[in-house]
Symmetry: none
Subunit: 201 residues, 2 copies
Protein backbone atom coordinates (compact mmCIF):
# COMPACT_ATOMS: atom_id res chain seq x y z
CA UNK A 1 0.00 0.00 0.00
CA UNK A 2 1.33 3.43 -0.92
CA UNK A 3 1.45 6.11 1.76
CA UNK A 4 1.51 9.85 1.26
CA UNK A 5 4.53 12.02 1.96
CA UNK A 6 2.35 14.05 4.35
CA UNK A 7 1.52 10.95 6.39
CA UNK A 8 5.20 10.02 6.57
CA UNK A 9 6.20 13.53 7.58
CA UNK A 10 3.58 13.71 10.32
CA UNK A 11 4.48 10.35 11.83
CA UNK A 12 8.15 11.17 11.52
CA UNK A 13 7.64 14.29 13.58
CA UNK A 14 5.67 12.35 16.15
CA UNK A 15 8.18 9.53 16.59
CA UNK A 16 11.52 11.03 15.58
CA UNK A 17 12.28 7.81 13.67
CA UNK A 18 14.25 7.86 10.37
CA UNK A 19 12.13 8.58 7.28
CA UNK A 20 12.56 5.20 5.58
CA UNK A 21 11.64 3.39 8.80
CA UNK A 22 8.49 5.48 9.10
CA UNK A 23 7.56 4.83 5.46
CA UNK A 24 8.11 1.08 5.78
CA UNK A 25 6.18 0.93 9.05
CA UNK A 26 3.21 2.81 7.56
CA UNK A 27 3.22 0.48 4.55
CA UNK A 28 3.43 -2.59 6.74
CA UNK A 29 0.57 -1.24 8.88
CA UNK A 30 -1.45 -0.46 5.74
CA UNK A 31 -1.76 3.18 6.73
CA UNK A 32 -2.93 2.45 10.29
CA UNK A 33 -1.00 5.07 12.18
CA UNK A 34 -1.27 3.53 15.64
CA UNK A 35 -0.11 0.18 14.32
CA UNK A 36 2.80 1.92 12.57
CA UNK A 37 3.85 3.52 15.85
CA UNK A 38 3.92 0.10 17.46
CA UNK A 39 6.04 -1.33 14.64
CA UNK A 40 8.47 1.58 15.03
CA UNK A 41 8.61 1.10 18.77
CA UNK A 42 9.45 -2.58 18.44
CA UNK A 43 12.08 -1.81 15.81
CA UNK A 44 13.53 0.99 17.96
CA UNK A 45 13.66 -1.21 21.00
CA UNK A 46 15.34 -3.97 18.99
CA UNK A 47 18.10 -1.80 17.56
CA UNK A 48 18.73 -0.04 20.87
CA UNK A 49 18.98 -3.44 22.47
CA UNK A 50 21.55 -4.51 19.88
CA UNK A 51 23.66 -1.45 20.62
CA UNK A 52 22.85 -1.62 24.31
CA UNK A 53 24.12 -5.18 24.39
CA UNK A 54 27.66 -4.01 23.79
CA UNK A 55 29.38 -3.84 27.12
CA UNK A 56 30.19 -0.42 28.58
CA UNK A 57 32.92 -1.00 31.11
CA UNK A 58 34.79 2.25 30.60
CA UNK A 59 33.59 5.80 31.16
CA UNK A 60 33.87 8.78 33.41
CA UNK A 61 32.48 10.20 36.62
CA UNK A 62 31.45 13.86 36.47
CA UNK A 63 30.11 16.22 39.08
CA UNK A 64 28.56 19.63 39.32
CA UNK A 65 27.81 21.82 42.31
CA UNK A 66 25.74 24.98 42.04
CA UNK A 67 27.79 28.13 42.71
CA UNK A 68 26.07 28.74 46.07
CA UNK A 69 26.72 25.15 47.21
CA UNK A 70 22.99 24.52 47.73
CA UNK A 71 22.76 21.55 45.36
CA UNK A 72 24.82 19.32 43.16
CA UNK A 73 24.98 16.04 41.27
CA UNK A 74 27.28 13.15 40.51
CA UNK A 75 26.97 11.18 37.27
CA UNK A 76 28.54 8.05 35.82
CA UNK A 77 28.64 8.01 32.02
CA UNK A 78 29.82 4.81 30.40
CA UNK A 79 31.45 4.04 27.07
CA UNK A 80 32.89 0.90 25.53
CA UNK A 81 36.50 2.04 25.39
CA UNK A 82 38.79 4.24 27.43
CA UNK A 83 39.55 6.10 24.19
CA UNK A 84 35.98 7.40 23.93
CA UNK A 85 35.80 8.02 27.70
CA UNK A 86 38.61 10.58 27.27
CA UNK A 87 36.94 12.18 24.24
CA UNK A 88 36.12 15.84 24.72
CA UNK A 89 32.48 15.52 23.56
CA UNK A 90 31.99 12.60 25.92
CA UNK A 91 33.44 14.53 28.86
CA UNK A 92 31.30 17.55 28.01
CA UNK A 93 28.13 15.44 27.81
CA UNK A 94 28.92 13.95 31.24
CA UNK A 95 29.29 17.47 32.60
CA UNK A 96 26.06 18.60 30.92
CA UNK A 97 24.17 15.68 32.45
CA UNK A 98 25.50 16.60 35.91
CA UNK A 99 24.39 20.21 35.41
CA UNK A 100 21.00 19.11 34.07
CA UNK A 101 20.40 16.69 36.95
CA UNK A 102 21.28 19.44 39.44
CA UNK A 103 18.81 21.84 37.80
CA UNK A 104 15.94 19.52 36.88
CA UNK A 105 15.91 16.94 39.67
CA UNK A 106 14.95 13.78 37.72
CA UNK A 107 14.14 10.69 39.79
CA UNK A 108 15.27 7.88 37.46
CA UNK A 109 17.57 7.45 34.49
CA UNK A 110 15.01 5.64 32.31
CA UNK A 111 11.32 4.78 32.36
CA UNK A 112 12.22 1.12 33.03
CA UNK A 113 13.75 2.14 36.35
CA UNK A 114 10.50 3.53 37.75
CA UNK A 115 9.21 0.87 40.15
CA UNK A 116 6.22 -0.96 38.62
CA UNK A 117 4.25 -0.06 41.76
CA UNK A 118 4.78 3.68 41.16
CA UNK A 119 3.56 3.37 37.56
CA UNK A 120 0.39 1.48 38.50
CA UNK A 121 -0.27 3.89 41.38
CA UNK A 122 0.02 6.87 39.08
CA UNK A 123 -2.14 5.16 36.45
CA UNK A 124 -4.85 4.47 39.05
CA UNK A 125 -4.84 8.08 40.24
CA UNK A 126 -5.05 9.43 36.69
CA UNK A 127 -7.86 7.00 35.80
CA UNK A 128 -9.88 7.98 38.83
CA UNK A 129 -9.39 11.66 38.09
CA UNK A 130 -10.42 11.24 34.44
CA UNK A 131 -13.56 9.37 35.48
CA UNK A 132 -14.39 11.95 38.15
CA UNK A 133 -14.10 14.62 35.50
CA UNK A 134 -16.81 12.76 33.61
CA UNK A 135 -14.66 11.67 30.67
CA UNK A 136 -16.36 8.92 28.65
CA UNK A 137 -15.00 5.44 29.39
CA UNK A 138 -13.87 4.87 25.81
CA UNK A 139 -11.37 7.72 25.90
CA UNK A 140 -10.22 7.45 29.53
CA UNK A 141 -7.45 5.03 28.59
CA UNK A 142 -6.15 7.29 25.85
CA UNK A 143 -6.17 10.33 28.18
CA UNK A 144 -4.42 8.37 30.92
CA UNK A 145 -1.70 7.10 28.56
CA UNK A 146 -0.98 10.66 27.49
CA UNK A 147 -0.86 11.91 31.06
CA UNK A 148 1.30 8.99 32.11
CA UNK A 149 3.78 9.83 29.37
CA UNK A 150 3.88 13.42 30.57
CA UNK A 151 4.38 12.29 34.17
CA UNK A 152 7.30 10.10 33.08
CA UNK A 153 8.86 12.99 31.18
CA UNK A 154 8.85 14.96 34.42
CA UNK A 155 10.77 12.37 36.42
CA UNK A 156 12.81 10.42 33.83
CA UNK A 157 16.21 11.91 32.98
CA UNK A 158 16.39 10.52 29.43
CA UNK A 159 12.92 11.85 28.58
CA UNK A 160 13.62 15.37 29.84
CA UNK A 161 14.57 18.15 27.48
CA UNK A 162 18.02 19.52 28.31
CA UNK A 163 17.18 22.44 30.60
CA UNK A 164 19.16 24.78 28.35
CA UNK A 165 16.56 24.48 25.59
CA UNK A 166 18.00 27.30 23.53
CA UNK A 167 21.51 25.88 23.32
CA UNK A 168 20.34 22.29 22.81
CA UNK A 169 17.40 23.07 20.51
CA UNK A 170 14.85 21.50 22.82
CA UNK A 171 16.45 18.06 22.49
CA UNK A 172 15.95 15.46 25.21
CA UNK A 173 18.86 13.93 27.09
CA UNK A 174 18.12 10.69 25.23
CA UNK A 175 18.39 12.48 21.88
CA UNK A 176 21.70 14.05 22.94
CA UNK A 177 22.91 10.66 24.15
CA UNK A 178 21.99 9.05 20.82
CA UNK A 179 23.80 11.79 18.93
CA UNK A 180 26.92 11.23 21.02
CA UNK A 181 26.71 7.47 20.47
CA UNK A 182 26.46 8.07 16.70
CA UNK A 183 29.34 10.54 16.78
CA UNK A 184 31.66 8.31 18.81
CA UNK A 185 30.45 5.06 17.23
CA UNK A 186 30.09 3.52 20.67
CA UNK A 187 27.28 2.62 23.00
CA UNK A 188 26.99 5.47 25.51
CA UNK A 189 25.13 4.79 28.73
CA UNK A 190 24.13 7.00 31.64
CA UNK A 191 24.71 4.38 34.29
CA UNK A 192 23.51 6.29 37.35
CA UNK A 193 23.28 9.65 39.05
CA UNK A 194 22.96 11.07 42.55
CA UNK A 195 21.62 14.51 43.40
CA UNK A 196 21.84 16.28 46.76
CA UNK A 197 20.11 19.45 47.79
CA UNK A 198 20.81 20.91 51.21
CA UNK A 199 18.09 19.95 53.69
CA UNK A 200 16.17 17.82 51.17
CA UNK A 201 17.33 14.43 52.40
Amino acid sequence: MAVSAAEVKELRQQTGAPMMDVKNALEEAEGDRQKAVEILRKKGAASAQKRGGRSTSEGTVASYVHADGSKGALVELQSETDFVARNEDFQEFARQVAIHVTAMNPQHVSFDEIPEEDVSNERRILEERAKEEGKPDNIVEKIVEGQLRKWAEDIVLLDQKHFNEERYEGKTIEELRTELAAKTGENVRIARFARFEVGQE
Copy 2:
Protein backbone atom coordinates in the same frame (compact mmCIF):
# COMPACT_ATOMS: atom_id res chain seq x y z
CA MET B 1 48.09 26.42 88.63
CA ALA B 2 48.88 29.26 86.24
CA VAL B 3 49.64 28.42 82.64
CA SER B 4 51.58 30.51 80.17
CA ALA B 5 50.00 32.27 77.22
CA ALA B 6 52.41 30.37 74.95
CA GLU B 7 51.16 27.02 76.26
CA VAL B 8 47.57 28.10 75.74
CA LYS B 9 48.29 29.33 72.25
CA GLU B 10 50.09 26.12 71.29
CA LEU B 11 47.34 23.83 72.57
CA ARG B 12 44.72 26.05 71.02
CA GLN B 13 46.32 25.63 67.63
CA GLN B 14 46.52 21.89 68.15
CA THR B 15 42.91 21.38 69.19
CA GLY B 16 41.07 24.32 67.67
CA ALA B 17 39.16 24.68 70.94
CA PRO B 18 38.16 28.14 72.29
CA MET B 19 40.88 29.90 74.28
CA MET B 20 39.13 29.88 77.67
CA ASP B 21 38.43 26.14 77.32
CA VAL B 22 42.10 25.50 76.57
CA LYS B 23 43.21 27.61 79.53
CA ASN B 24 40.80 25.88 81.92
CA ALA B 25 41.79 22.43 80.65
CA LEU B 26 45.50 23.16 81.08
CA GLU B 27 44.88 24.45 84.59
CA GLU B 28 42.75 21.44 85.47
CA ALA B 29 45.46 19.14 84.07
CA GLU B 30 48.10 21.04 86.02
CA GLY B 31 50.03 21.81 82.85
CA ASP B 32 49.99 18.19 81.57
CA ARG B 33 49.32 18.75 77.90
CA GLN B 34 48.15 15.24 77.05
CA LYS B 35 45.73 15.27 79.98
CA ALA B 36 44.49 18.68 78.87
CA VAL B 37 43.79 17.33 75.38
CA GLU B 38 41.72 14.55 76.92
CA ILE B 39 39.76 17.01 79.04
CA LEU B 40 39.10 19.10 75.93
CA ARG B 41 38.05 16.01 73.98
CA LYS B 42 35.57 14.97 76.65
CA LYS B 43 34.26 18.49 76.86
CA GLY B 44 34.14 18.69 73.08
CA ALA B 45 32.31 15.40 72.81
CA ALA B 46 29.86 16.45 75.52
CA SER B 47 29.13 19.79 73.98
CA ALA B 48 29.08 18.28 70.47
CA GLN B 49 26.47 15.85 71.74
CA LYS B 50 24.47 18.73 73.12
CA ARG B 51 24.88 20.49 69.80
CA GLY B 52 23.92 17.25 68.01
CA GLY B 53 20.32 17.83 69.02
CA ARG B 54 20.23 21.22 67.34
CA SER B 55 18.68 21.22 63.92
CA THR B 56 20.96 21.47 60.88
CA SER B 57 18.93 22.82 58.01
CA GLU B 58 21.68 24.79 56.29
CA GLY B 59 24.89 23.54 54.77
CA THR B 60 26.69 22.85 51.56
CA VAL B 61 27.01 20.23 48.85
CA ALA B 62 30.58 19.42 47.79
CA SER B 63 31.97 17.11 45.16
CA TYR B 64 35.28 15.65 44.11
CA VAL B 65 36.26 13.72 41.01
CA HIS B 66 39.62 12.01 40.65
CA ALA B 67 41.81 13.62 37.98
CA ASP B 68 41.41 10.64 35.62
CA GLY B 69 37.60 10.68 35.98
CA SER B 70 37.56 7.08 37.23
CA LYS B 71 35.84 7.85 40.53
CA GLY B 72 34.24 10.64 42.52
CA ALA B 73 31.98 11.53 45.40
CA LEU B 74 29.20 13.90 46.37
CA VAL B 75 28.73 14.99 49.99
CA GLU B 76 26.14 16.99 51.93
CA LEU B 77 27.54 18.72 55.00
CA GLN B 78 25.03 20.44 57.26
CA SER B 79 25.29 23.34 59.68
CA GLU B 80 22.78 25.27 61.72
CA THR B 81 23.14 28.59 59.96
CA ASP B 82 23.91 29.81 56.48
CA PHE B 83 26.66 31.91 58.05
CA VAL B 84 28.66 28.84 59.08
CA ALA B 85 27.82 27.07 55.81
CA ARG B 86 29.73 29.80 53.99
CA ASN B 87 32.66 29.63 56.41
CA GLU B 88 35.96 28.72 54.75
CA ASP B 89 36.81 25.92 57.22
CA PHE B 90 33.36 24.44 56.75
CA GLN B 91 33.70 24.50 52.97
CA GLU B 92 37.18 22.98 53.19
CA PHE B 93 35.97 20.17 55.46
CA ALA B 94 33.16 19.38 53.01
CA ARG B 95 35.75 19.19 50.24
CA GLN B 96 38.03 17.01 52.37
CA VAL B 97 35.19 14.60 53.10
CA ALA B 98 34.42 14.32 49.35
CA ILE B 99 38.10 13.58 48.64
CA HIS B 100 38.27 11.10 51.52
CA VAL B 101 35.10 9.26 50.42
CA THR B 102 36.47 9.03 46.86
CA ALA B 103 39.74 7.55 48.13
CA MET B 104 38.56 5.31 50.97
CA ASN B 105 35.17 4.05 49.81
CA PRO B 106 33.24 3.98 53.11
CA GLN B 107 29.82 2.32 53.04
CA HIS B 108 27.94 4.31 55.71
CA VAL B 109 28.23 7.66 57.45
CA SER B 110 27.93 6.25 60.99
CA PHE B 111 27.85 2.88 62.71
CA ASP B 112 24.12 3.35 63.38
CA GLU B 113 23.46 3.32 59.65
CA ILE B 114 24.83 -0.19 59.15
CA PRO B 115 21.76 -2.45 58.80
CA GLU B 116 21.28 -4.53 61.96
CA GLU B 117 21.32 -7.65 59.77
CA ASP B 118 24.81 -6.85 58.44
CA VAL B 119 26.13 -6.40 61.98
CA SER B 120 24.70 -9.70 63.24
CA ASN B 121 25.92 -11.49 60.12
CA GLU B 122 29.43 -10.18 60.61
CA ARG B 123 29.29 -11.04 64.32
CA ARG B 124 28.23 -14.61 63.53
CA ILE B 125 31.06 -15.06 60.99
CA LEU B 126 33.65 -13.67 63.40
CA GLU B 127 32.35 -15.86 66.26
CA GLU B 128 32.52 -19.00 64.12
CA ARG B 129 36.02 -18.15 62.97
CA ALA B 130 37.22 -17.50 66.52
CA LYS B 131 35.76 -20.82 67.69
CA GLU B 132 37.26 -22.70 64.74
CA GLU B 133 40.61 -21.23 65.67
CA GLY B 134 40.19 -22.87 69.04
CA LYS B 135 39.88 -19.65 71.07
CA PRO B 136 38.50 -20.35 74.57
CA ASP B 137 34.79 -19.52 74.94
CA ASN B 138 35.41 -16.97 77.66
CA ILE B 139 37.46 -14.70 75.39
CA VAL B 140 35.61 -15.26 72.09
CA GLU B 141 33.20 -12.43 72.83
CA LYS B 142 36.02 -10.01 73.60
CA ILE B 143 37.91 -10.98 70.43
CA VAL B 144 34.75 -10.64 68.35
CA GLU B 145 33.95 -7.19 69.77
CA GLY B 146 37.43 -6.00 68.86
CA GLN B 147 37.21 -7.41 65.36
CA LEU B 148 33.73 -6.00 64.90
CA ARG B 149 35.02 -2.55 65.84
CA LYS B 150 37.82 -2.92 63.30
CA TRP B 151 35.33 -4.04 60.64
CA ALA B 152 33.17 -0.99 61.37
CA GLU B 153 36.18 1.29 61.12
CA ASP B 154 36.76 -0.07 57.62
CA ILE B 155 33.28 0.76 56.37
CA VAL B 156 32.09 3.68 58.54
CA LEU B 157 33.10 7.14 57.31
CA LEU B 158 33.15 8.82 60.75
CA ASP B 159 35.36 6.07 62.20
CA GLN B 160 37.93 6.21 59.40
CA LYS B 161 41.15 8.13 59.78
CA HIS B 162 41.43 10.89 57.20
CA PHE B 163 43.35 9.17 54.40
CA ASN B 164 45.93 11.96 54.50
CA GLU B 165 47.23 10.80 57.89
CA GLU B 166 50.28 13.03 57.81
CA ARG B 167 48.38 16.25 57.24
CA TYR B 168 45.56 15.38 59.62
CA GLU B 169 47.72 13.72 62.32
CA GLY B 170 45.90 10.40 62.07
CA LYS B 171 42.62 11.97 63.19
CA THR B 172 39.34 10.31 62.28
CA ILE B 173 36.67 12.08 60.26
CA GLU B 174 34.59 12.20 63.47
CA GLU B 175 37.45 13.93 65.32
CA LEU B 176 37.81 16.46 62.51
CA ARG B 177 34.04 16.98 62.51
CA THR B 178 34.04 17.58 66.28
CA GLU B 179 36.88 20.07 65.96
CA LEU B 180 34.97 21.95 63.27
CA ALA B 181 31.83 21.95 65.43
CA ALA B 182 33.86 23.36 68.34
CA LYS B 183 35.51 25.95 66.12
CA THR B 184 32.30 27.14 64.51
CA GLY B 185 30.20 26.74 67.63
CA GLU B 186 27.55 24.91 65.64
CA ASN B 187 26.40 21.36 65.18
CA VAL B 188 28.06 20.01 62.03
CA ARG B 189 26.57 16.94 60.43
CA ILE B 190 27.66 14.79 57.48
CA ALA B 191 24.16 14.14 56.21
CA ARG B 192 24.95 11.77 53.34
CA PHE B 193 27.39 10.87 50.61
CA ALA B 194 27.40 9.09 47.26
CA ARG B 195 30.43 7.57 45.59
CA PHE B 196 30.70 6.35 42.00
CA GLU B 197 33.53 4.40 40.45
CA VAL B 198 33.39 3.57 36.74
CA GLY B 199 32.12 0.05 36.17
CA GLN B 200 31.51 -0.63 39.90
CA GLU B 201 27.75 -0.14 39.87
